[in-house]
């Protein structure tokens, strides 16, 4: 098992190096002078220009700039945000829990609904349930989620008035972050109204963000189940008189789970991309909104680091999924 993990790690090393080169190249590929580009329309004083030039190390040879950059990254130094003058890493760490909280709730929703829906659709293949579920799933898969989020706001916040339009918690609550997860922090403080408020703010964005993963998981579960249900060991299990629940739940589902786990892992990238749109629509203070705000503020140091950090996180999660995959499927380990 350890050998398998080390092998996987060795395989992603070139990609990780490539990602750092891509992030490093980003600022240098900006048209014109990168410092002037970041300064924007207001311009910049010559003194400040020299300070920034020194700070970025633009006066050094390019390979030295790269090694300095990677050296900094390895020490957790991602530079200073041009807009807020705070270290990028500090900002990232304050905002990241918000994204994780939203993405986790969305993923739980997607798995909790997607897997049962896919199983039932496969078991009742060709039934109205199957057809409706798959129709809804394909619609969800085709959904422009930035529009879907707006529709949810129009209906649930505007028309019914059930949920708040944007933000993370009602403004009258102020909780000093412990974990950074609003739902967990409010429980830790024993502040029940704050917990309810944070849940209410979570509902719409997590539905919007869950939509595409939910559709993908339901479709994948159905096709994996269909494949497995035709296997001989399932027929054997049926023939020896096991209850349908046991056949489907134990014999079929456990084998169908393997491709489903891979699919779930691959959705992490989708979630990060979805977070950019969802957070923008619901003014959710996470890293997706942070990236968009930084792009419009031309805070390219933040964009560069966000790009690098998000790619590294996605890679790390995919690595974990690969390992999980080997845990549930021993054949992979042996190869």
């Amino acid at each position: 098992m350890l050998r398998y993990i080390l092998q996987k790690l060795a395989l992603i090393v070139p990609t990780v190096i490539g990602i750092t080169i891509a992030a490093f190249a980003f600022i240098r590929l900006l048209p014109g002078d990168p410092i002037l580009a970041m300064a924007g329309q207001h311009g910049i004083t010559p003194e400040r220009y020299e300070i920034l030039k020194e700070q970025f190390g633009f006066n050094l040879p390019i390979w030295q700039q790269y090694f300095n950059y990677v050296g900094g990254v390895l020490h957790g130094d991602f530079g200073i945000s041009v807009a807020t003058k705070r270290p990028v890493m500090t900002e990232f760490l304050t905002l990241f829990p918000a994204t994780v909280e939203l993405a986790t709730v969305a993923m739980i929703l997607a798995i909790a609904l997607g897997i049962p829906a896919g199983i039932f659709a496969a078991v009742k293949r060709g039934s109205w349930f199957d057809q409706v579920t798959m129709g809804v799933a394909l619609t969800g898969y085709s959904m422009p989620i930035f529009w879907w989020g707006l529709l949810l706001i129009i209906f649930f916040s505007g028309y019914l008035g059930w949920t708040p339009v944007s933000g993370r918690i009602a403004l009258n609550f102020f909780l000093k972050p412990i974990t950074g997860f609003m739902t967990i922090d409010s429980l830790l403080y024993g502040n029940w109204p704050a917990f309810v408020s944070s849940l209410r703010y979570l509902i719409l964005p997590s539905i919007a963000l869950a939509t595409i993963p939910l559709a993908v998981i339901a479709r994948q579960t159905r096709s994996a189940m269909l494949e497995v249900l035709g296997e001989e060991y399932v027929r054997t299990a049926r023939a020896k008189g096991l209850s349908p629940r046991r056949v489907v739940g134990l014999h079929a589902f456990r084998n169908a789970l393997i491709p489903v786990v891979t699919t779930i892992g691959l959705q992490v990238g989708t979630l990060m991309a979805g977070a950019i749109l969802t957070e923008t629509i619901f003014s959710w203070p996470g890293i997706g909104k942070w990236m968009i705000d930084s792009i419009s503020k031309r805070d390219y140091v933040v964009v560069q680091s966000g790009l690098l950090l998000i790619a590294l996180i996605v890679m790390a999660v995919n690595l974990i999924v690969d390992v999980l995959y080997a845990v549930i499927n021993p054949r992979i380990r042996v190869q």
Partner: protein
């Protein structure tokens, strides 16, 4: 007495006939195809179908609701936007942008992906390693994020958005082509073509590639709908097509502040995106059923 019965021989169905047989078994795919063809017709004849020009402003009819709501006017079936432009006309013209975006992105990414994938799969060695590592790096980033960053380098705009999306979608084609070329490369028909003196380019383009077409078509369909979605998302974030272009995502961006006052300016452009993408994905599902030999029954 001679036997007057004639023996009816049925010729084996042509490749196209067989394809259509399997495609038509999927009712959803047929519906998707019909909707898609209608969309293409609307896009081609937009200036003749649309009641008004997409930029014409009716200053006395700002934010008119659709005709079936109170205050709606028969002159503006789907209502007007905040500056008094007819929604229906803008949507009809918007179909041109979406289909154009899909087409350009697919052509760009298909060509570059096939070339890179074929080179990697055919020559292997360091060419393969170099090309596929670059593809891995592109795939390591969430697609929308990479497209966003590329657009912020290239500058916002429709053309740059298409270019960025093509870069992001291209590795899928490269991977498919590479795998197919590697699988076919050592087959006997390829060896015999090589013996007959075919050069590298002929072997790749004429001998091998036609046998990899099926999966590429399915992937192209998926990329077509993805390209439309991502371009709309970039437009929505203000980095794609710029106002006053009647691109659907851009229309949504400018309509955002009116969502609670005038829901129709938000509802219709998104619905247009959804219908288009859904139709193409339905066709994609049908194509996969028809072109994937593993799924073919009998």
């Amino acid at each position: 007495m001679t036997d007057s019965r004639t023996i009816v021989t049925r010729r084996p169905p042509s490749a196209l006939g067989e394809f259509w047989h399997y495609f038509a078994m999927n009712k959803g795919a047929v519906v998707g195809l019909v909707v898609f063809v209608l969309l293409v017709i609307v896009a081609l004849f937009a200036p003749w179908i649309a009641p008004y020009s997409p930029d014409q402003q009716f200053r006395d009819s700002l934010l008119t609701p659709p005709v079936w709501e109170a205050g709606g006017k028969a002159a503006f079936l789907l209502g007007t936007d905040p500056v008094g432009r007819d929604m229906l006309s803008r949507l009809i013209h918007g179909s041109r942008y979406s289909l154009f975006i899909g087409l350009v992105v697919v052509v760009l990414s298909l060509f570059s992906g096939i070339i890179l994938g074929a080179l990697a799969g055919y020559f292997r060695g360091w060419v393969d390693a170099l090309i596929m590592r670059v593809m891995d790096i592109i795939l390591a980033f969430p697609s929308l994020l990479l497209a966003l960053v590329l657009v912020s380098i290239l500058g916002p705009g429709l053309f740059n958005a298409m270019l960025a999306i093509a870069v992001v979608l291209q590795p899928h084609f490269a991977r498919l082509t590479r795998a197919a070329v590697m699988a076919e490369k050592n087959r006997e028909y390829v060896t015999s073509a090589k013996m007959a003196g075919a050069g590298h380019i002929r072997l790749i383009l004429v001998t091998i590639l036609p046998n990899c077409v099926g999966p590429l078509i399915v992937q192209a369909t998926l990329s077509f709908s993805n390209a439309i979605l991502e371009a709309a998302a970039l437009g929505f974030l203000g980095l794609g097509a710029q106002p006053p272009t009647p691109e659907w995502g851009t229309m949504l961006a400018t309509a955002r502040e009116f969502i609670l006052r005038a829901p129709w300016v938000v509802t219709f452009p998104g619905l247009a995106i959804l219908i288009t993408v859904l139709a193409i994905n339905l066709v994609g599902d049908g194509l996969r059923d028809a072109l994937d030999p593993k799924l073919k029954r009998s």
